[in-house]
């Protein structure tokens, strides 16, 4: 049968194209323009070439912040993903426990970032916070404003508290979609719990698990509000992540040129990682 090709439907895409151009492409072009120039305000710009990129790529400040950022994302993924799977596997499958668990698990997700930051900022204080005061009463030297390890621990535990539910809920949805027949077959074959997890549950969860990893990676890689409220990037620069450093540079120091180059490099890192995740996910879908 000969179909008539009609590409008029492409015009339907036009509103989205305009919207994305207005909200993302044009601002991004402006950032590119800023990245090759220097300004002292007054909308006057001076050509700087690629020197800002050279400076940022060789700046210890950027490389350290990037290292801290990858370390943070790595640590929270290494905790939240296994913990989320573990919680999802132990959540009730039916009965009154299901809605109770679902509501309790969703609660942390509903709290805005700055509120989470404030809660933990107070919670960890040695003078008035429950956690800080309890630690002090137990004789443990805990102070997130002065000790680097304590600051990192506080931020990591805060992130785990805030976001593990997301991983758990996604995995729970994946687990619920496995038909009972799979488990019955495994039982007949005398499969161990580990074999059931490895060959039935994990493959069936793989799709949602990748989404969970992607979401948690993206979110933790651009984290700003929570560590900013709790530690303000300190002690020193111990918890200054990329976004905190970028804001300091762009708004604190008003170094628009270097900050623009910084954001473009930041953007390219995120683009690269997202592309890798996206490619892996879509190819797994095609194969699976």
């Amino acid at each position: 049968m000969n179909k008539t090709w009609n590409n008029k439907a492409w015009w339907m895409v036009l509103p989205v194209v305009l919207l994305v151009a207005f909200s993302a492409v044009i601002p991004l072009m402006t950032v590119v323009n800023y990245a090759v120039q220097d300004t002292f305000g007054n909308n006057q710009f001076f050509w700087a070439g690629l020197s800002w990129f050279e400076e940022i790529m060789n700046s210890e400040r950027f490389i350290n912040a990037l290292g801290r950022q990858f370390m943070f994302s790595g640590i929270i993924l290494a905790i939240e993903i296994p913990l989320g799977i573990f919680i999802a596997m132990n959540m009730p499958k039916k009965g009154w426990g299901v809605p109770v668990c679902l509501v309790l698990m969703s609660l942390p997700l509903l709290i805005p970032w700055n509120v989470v930051g404030t809660i933990w900022q107070i919670f960890g204080r040695v003078d008035i916070g429950l956690l800080g005061a309890s630690m002090a009463a137990l004789g443990i030297d805990y102070n997130y404003t002065q000790n680097i390890v304590d600051a990192w621990l506080t931020i990591i535990v805060m992130d785990v508290w805030h976001w593990t539910s997301l991983v758990a809920l996604l995995c729970y949805a994946g687990l619920q979609s496995i038909p009972e027949a799979y488990y019955q077959a495994a039982k007949i074959d005398g499969a161990s719990n580990w074999a059931i997890f490895r060959y039935i549950q994990l493959p069936k969860m793989a799709g949602v698990l990748l989404i969970a990893v992607l979401l948690r990676f993206m979110d933790s890689f651009m984290i700003y509000t929570e560590p900013f409220v709790v530690t303000g990037g300190g002690p020193g620069t111990a918890t200054t992540f990329l976004s905190i450093d970028l804001v300091n540079m762009a708004i604190g120091q008003f170094d628009l040129g270097p900050a623009a180059a910084f954001s473009l490099i930041y953007f390219l890192i995120i683009l690269l990682v997202s592309w890798i995740f996206y490619t892996v996910m879509t190819n797994m879908d095609k194969e699976g």
């Binding site: 323009n33 090759v36 909308n43 070439g49 990129f53 050279e54 190819n283």
Partner: protein, 90 residues
């Protein structure tokens, strides 16, 4: 337009990217190509290969700046070779 702080160099950069996108679009309408699997074992269309080339080129240039500094002429040559390789084998 003044607020966007245009320079002719960045304008040229974007015009080139825009022209590449348009010509790739025209090419895909004139001679449609089925997705294929290359050395990366992933299915790619010509558009995907263009994206990989551009993203890879950005990283080649950044690495060049980090290691040798400007100018980027040799890095651009590496980018062209890289893009050709991507279109040929990926």
């Amino acid at each position: 337009m003044a607020w966007m702080a245009w320079t002719w160099q960045t304008a040229l950069f974007f015009v080139l990217i825009f022209l590449t996108l348009v010509s790739m679009g025209v090419w895909s309408v004139k001679a449609p190509q089925a997705p294929r699997k290359g050395i990366l074992m992933i299915e790619t269309t010509p558009g995907d290969r263009l994206f990989i080339s551009l993203l890879g080129s950005a990283w080649i240039c950044l690495s060049w700046l980090a290691m040798f500094g400007s100018p980027l002429w040799w890095a651009l040559l590496v980018c062209v070779v890289f893009a050709a390789a991507v279109f040929r084998w990926v």
